[in-house]
């Protein structure tokens, strides 16, 4: 559901979820928050990444990709990333997004 966009980040076609979307290497004009979730060094492929705003309110959620990956195109500012996975696994990380920058989180749960 995503396609290459030469010179910029992936572009979503409609509203397709980017589960398993390859990490971008050029943020373009986006404020990218991305990363991978691992457990014992292996990717967590069944689970969800949620983005909460500075008030703790839910903003977006994506399923983790086969490689444990997730990706958001946020507004600039402070965010909390929350990971949910089977077995009651939860983890949180704080992150500050900025236009034109990629914030990459490695989340071991």
């Amino acid at each position: 559901m995503t396609q290459a966009n030469p010179g910029g980040p992936a572009v979503a076609d409609g509203c397709g979820a980017p589960a398993g979307t390859p990490m971008v290497t050029d943020a373009g004009n986006q404020a990218v928050v991305q990363g991978k979730v691992t457990r014992g060094g292996s990717p967590v492929s069944v689970g969800y990444a949620r983005l909460l705003n500075s008030g703790g309110e839910f903003v977006a959620e994506v399923p983790l990709g086969a490689d444990g990956g997730f990706q958001f195109f946020a507004a600039p500012g402070d965010w909390t990333l929350r990971v949910l996975a089977p077995g009651g696994i939860r983890a949180e990380r704080g992150v500050t997004a900025a236009i034109g920058e990629i914030r990459t989180l490695e989340v071991a749960v």
């Binding site: 980040p9 509203c15 979820a17 689970g47 309110e57 903003v59 977006a60 959620e61 195109f73 949910l84």
Partner: protein, 279 residues
């Protein structure tokens, strides 16, 4: 209409998923999720490929919907149980869409795919073989579908509920935060719209909040339950979730989903737009 008429839980699905007359249908934002594993016996509907006209911006017509459901082996009298990821976002959209074409018995799996997965329930890759049917749809029920002129006319007179995130409502973002930010139209919201993000209607596991909690949520945002309501988002999926809450859970009449939503409204010439966080 009560909750049990429109929502089923995972135990119900486990007990009834093989019953004649029950069809499980997965509809996901991530259209590849089904192929990686789905509830045993479930068929897939692709919200984009199957439900949208390939050329015009509109839904498939009645004949197209009949052909789709016939091909999936779904009968007019079947109980269709929809589920999907992201709090049933696209499953709720499909629910509304099935109702638009008059399907009588449609339900959502409460919590959708996410709760099913987080509870470590079985997912299989085997695709069921269902015999084709001759599905008969009804003409579109436009009492649940709003078009742009109705939205403009509703400014200041009906409940307009913008269910996007606060940043989209204010005009700081043009798409949800997990999608690239397209710049195809103006940012902001329909004047007098209240911002109640769709996701507030669900708990973290994707299940719907109680009727009392939902009523309190929308009342606190200034929604008048004595007035007709139009819900919108960016392309009409998240607002279908809120339509489900108002029309199916809370039993409100005269509730419409504006599927043109912000990608249409924000591109119209001459209509009023408000920016900022609102009242």
């Amino acid at each position: 209409m009560s909750r049990s008429d429109v929502l089923v839980d995972a135990d119900w699905v486990e007990a009834h998923k093989g019953d004649p007359g029950i069809v499980l249908v997965e509809v996901d934002e991530d259209t590849s999720a089904y192929d990686k594993g789905h509830i045993r016996g479930a068929v897939k509907i692709d919200w984009k490929k199957d439900l949208q006209d390939p050329v015009r911006r509109d839904f498939v017509d009645k004949a197209g919907f009949e052909a789709l459901l016939s091909g999936r082996g779904i009968s007019t009298d079947d109980t269709v149980v929809l589920y999907g990821g992201n709090n049933n976002w696209f499953a709720a959209y499909a629910y509304w869409y099935f109702k638009l074409y008059g399907h009588r018995d449609v339900r959502l799996l409460d919590g959708g795919r996410k709760k099913w997965e987080l509870d470590s329930r079985e997912l299989v890759t085997e695709v069921p073989a269902r015999t084709a049917t001759s599905y008969a749809a009804q003409a579109q029920d436009t009492s649940i579908r709003a078009f742009r002129d109705e939205v403009v006319a509703a400014i200041g007179s009906k409940n307009l509920i913008d269910v996007r995130s606060p940043d989209e409502f204010a005009g700081r973002l043009l798409a949800p935060a997990h999608l690239p930010q397209e710049q195809a139209q103006r940012g902001g919201h329909v004047p007098t719209a209240r911002n109640v993000p769709w996701s507030k209607a669900a708990d973290e596991d994707g299940t719907f909040k109680s009727d009392d909690a939902l009523t309190a949520l929308y009342s606190a945002a200034g929604v008048d339950f004595g007035t007709d309501t139009i819900a919108y988002c960016r392309i009409g999926e998240r607002s279908a979730h809120t339509w489900f809450v108002f029309h199916e859970l809370l039993g409100q009449r005269n509730v419409k989903n504006y599927d043109g939503s912000w990608t249409e409204y924000g591109s119209l010439v001459g209509v009023p737009i408000e920016v900022g966080d609102g009242a």
